[in-house]
Symmetry: C2
Subunit: 359 residues, 2 copies
C-alpha cells in the first residue's frame, strides 16, 4: 500500500458540491483499484465561507490546505456575493489562496474529445487531434503591478504597471519545459518581444532555460499571432507558456476552441509537487442544486492531481480512459447533449465513469 | 464636378506596388463613373525609402502625406531590412508616420464574404453574416508607456507601463460611437475593468460618452471573454472598441475568423476626415514581383477611404459590390483559390473588378 495522500476538498458554491462529490467517489474507486490510499478533509471557501465565517478564506481552511498534499476545488462565487465589498468577495479568496499556497502557475489543458468535436464552432477537421496545455504565469505581470491615478493636462490618467523579474520567468519556464518533456516535447513561448520590455526579458530567459532542455522544440510566438494560430492550427500546439495576462486571454480562447468548457480541467502549481485542481467552469448558480451539472471537468481535474502531484500516471490514465469510454458510448449530461440524446444527471454520469475505471 | 481630392500613394515594399497599382486604377474608374476627381502623388516609404533615401520615412514623404486629403499605403518591410538597427527598420517608419499624422485609431473591418466562408476554420453556419469592425486605440497604452530594467533581489526586472488619460479614451470612444451610428448601432467596449485601473478609467469614460449616443446599444466585454465570444458568436458583434494591445490581439483574431486575410482592409484615423488606408496583409516578399498577389484588400481599403475620408459612400458601395460580384462569379487569386479554380493574376483580378464598377 502506498503512503496515504492527504487531499483538502473545497466544494465551494453553486454546482461545486455536486461535481466534487462525484470526483471524490472517483478518488475512492481509484484507490481500491490501484491500491492507493487517500484521506480527504473538507473545508469552507468562497461564498459559503463568507456566509458562515464572515470571510471567503477562513484561517482554518488555509490550515487544511497547507497540511494536505493537494487541493481539490469545486467552484466559487455567485450573484449573492457579487455586490459585496472587495474583501468579502469569493474571487478575493481565490487570489488569497493562490498567494498563500505559493501557486505561481496555472495549467489549462485544452483537449478535444473525438466524440465531442462537433460541439466546437471550429470545423472538426481543423480541431482533430487538438491536445494542448496553456501554462500561465499567475503571480506577476500587469494584474499585480502598481496601479494608480493622477491628474495630467489631458485630464485624469490611470496607470498600470507590468513587471517581471528573471526569477519569476525562470521558474515558470522550467515548469513549462518539464511539462513539455512529459508530453510531445514542443513548447511555444508567447510574448510581445517586438514591443514590450517584460517580453524581451521573458524571451531572453526562456532561451537561456531552453539550453537545459535540448530535446524540446521551442518556438517564440507573438501574442497577437498566437491568437490567430490557435484558430488556424490548434492541433499543432503542445505546451504554450506565457505571462499572466496573455495566458488569461489565450487560455480562454483555447478553451472555447474545444467547444465544451464543461469538460476542461485545470491545475495551479507552485514549487514541488503541491497543487490545487479545479474545473475551468464556474459555479453555474442557474443550475445549482438540480443535479444537472457535468462532473467530468472536476473528475478530470482529479486525474490531473493524480498525475502531477502524486505521480500516479497509471491511475490518471484510467480515469481519462473511463471518461472517454463513457462519452464514446454516447452518454451525455445536458450541457453536452445538444438535444440529441437524453441527458444524464450529475450522479448518473459520475456512476458510469466510476464503473468504467479499471486497471 | 466635385472638388479634387489629393491622395498620397505609398506603394512601399514587396507586393505593395503591385496591389496599389490596381487600387489606383479603381480610383480612376470610380472618378469617371461618379464624376469625382482624384489627384495622386507618389512617395517613398519603408524599405525602399531606406535603400534610396537612408530613412524609412523621408521628410518629403511626410510632406506629401500632409498636403494630401488621405493616404493609400501598400505594404512595408521584408527580410532585407529585418536585421537593421531600429531607426533603419521599415516598422519604425510606420510608427513615425502614424505619430506625425496624428492617427490615433485603427479600424479593422472583418467581413465574411458569403462565397469565401468555407476558407475559415470556423463552421460556415457560425460565421454566416459576420460583419464587424474593430476600432483599436493606436497611440497609448502599454506599447508606448515608459519601459526600463532594474536590478532587484530576484535578479534583473523589466517594467512596462500602461497609461491612458481621459482625453485619449474619450476621442476614441466618440469615434467608435460615431462609426456604430453609421452601422448597426451596437458597440462592444472591451477592457479588463475587474483588474486594471486603465480599464476602469476606460469603462467610466465610455459610459460617460455613451450618454451622447442613446441609440447605440453598448455592452462591456472583458478581454478574455471577448477572445471567446469572437469564436462563439462572431456575427453578433458590430463595432468593437478597445485599447491598443487588446485591439492588437483581438483584431488579429477577428481577421483570422474570416479565413481570408488577403481580403481585409484597414484605416488609421485622426481627428477630422484625414486617414491612412492600407490592406491588413503584409508585404509578402515570397511572392513579390510575380503578379500573384490579391489586390482586393487594397481595393477595399480604397473603398474605405472614399466612404470615411471623402464621404463618397455611393462610390464605396460600388467598389464593394464589384468585388462581391467578381468573387460570386467564382474568380479567385491564388491565395483564395484553394486549388479549386484556376488562379488569376493580380492584374486580371484588378481588371475584372474595374469592369464590374458601375453606378
Ligand atoms: Mg480568463
Ligand atoms: Mg496584431
Amino acid at each position: 500500500m502506498a503512503e496515504t495522500k492527504k487531499i483538502a476538498v473545497i466544494a465551494g458554491d453553486g454546482i461545486g458540491p455536486e461535481v466534487v462529490a462525484e470526483a471524490e467517489k472517483v478518488l475512492q474507486k481509484v484507490g481500491e483499484v490501484f491500491g492507493y490510499s487517500f484521506e480527504t478533509e473538507h473545508a469552507l471557501f468562497g461564498g459559503i465561507a463568507i456566509d458562515e465565517k464572515g470571510t471567503p478564506l477562513p484561517a482554518e481552511t488555509l490550515e487544511v490546505c497547507k497540511r494536505a498534499d493537494a487541493v481539490l476545488l469545486g467552484a466559487v462565487g455567485g450573484p449573492k456575493w457579487d455586490n459585496n465589498s472587495k474583501e468579502l468577495r469569493p474571487e478575493t479568496g481565490l487570489l488569497g489562496i493562490r498567494k498563500e499556497l505559493g501557486l505561481f502557475s496555472n495549467l489549462r489543458p485544452a483537449v478535444v474529445f473525438d466524440c465531442l468535436k462537433d460541439a466546437s464552432t471550429l470545423k472538426p477537421e481543423v480541431l482533430e487531434g487538438t491536445d494542448l496545455m496553456v501554462v500561465r504565469e499567475l503571480t506577476g505581470g500587469i494584474y499585480f503591478g502598481e496601479k494608480f491615478r493622477r491628474e495630467t493636462e489631458y485630464g485624469e490618467e490611470a496607470v498600470d504597471t507590468c513587471a517581471y523579474n528573471v526569477t519569476e520567468v525562470e521558474r515558470i519556464a522550467r515548469q513549462a519545459f518539464d511539462i513539455a518533456m512529459k508530453r510531445r516535447k514542443k513548447l511555444a513561448s508567447v510574448d510581445k518581444a517586438n514591443v514590450l520590455e517584460t517580453s524581451r526579458l521573458w524571451r531572453e530567459t526562456v532561451i537561456r532555460v531552453s539550453a537545459d532542455y535540448p530535446e524540446v522544440e521551442l518556438e517564440h510566438v507573438l501574442v497577437d499571432n498566437c491568437a490567430m494560430q490557435l484558430l488556424r492550427r490548434p492541433s499543432s500546439f503542445d505546451v504554450i507558456v506565457t505571462e499572466n495576462m496573455f495566458g488569461d486571454i489565450l487560455s480562454d480562447e483555447a478553451a472555447m476552441l474545444t467547444g465544451s468548457i464543461g469538460m476542461l480541467a485545470s491545475a495551479s502549481l507552485g514549487e514541488g509537487s503541491y497543487g490545487l485542481y479545479e474545473p475551468v467552469h464556474g459555479s453555474a448558480p442557474d443550475i445549482a442544486g438540480q443535479g444537472l451539472a457535468n462532473p467530468i471537468a472536476t473528475i478530470l481535474s482529479t486525474a490531473l492531481m493524480l498525475r502531477i502531484s502524486f505521480g500516479y500516471g497509471e491511475a490518471a490514465d484510467a480515469i481519462e480512459r473511463a471518461v472517454a469510454e463513457v462519452l464514446d458510448a454516447g452518454h451525455r449530461t445536458s450541457d453536452i447533449a445538444a438535444g440529441r440524446v437524453e441527458a444524464l444527471s450529475t450522479k448518473q454520469m459520475g456512476e458510469l465513469i466510476l464503473k468504467a475505471i479499471r486497471k
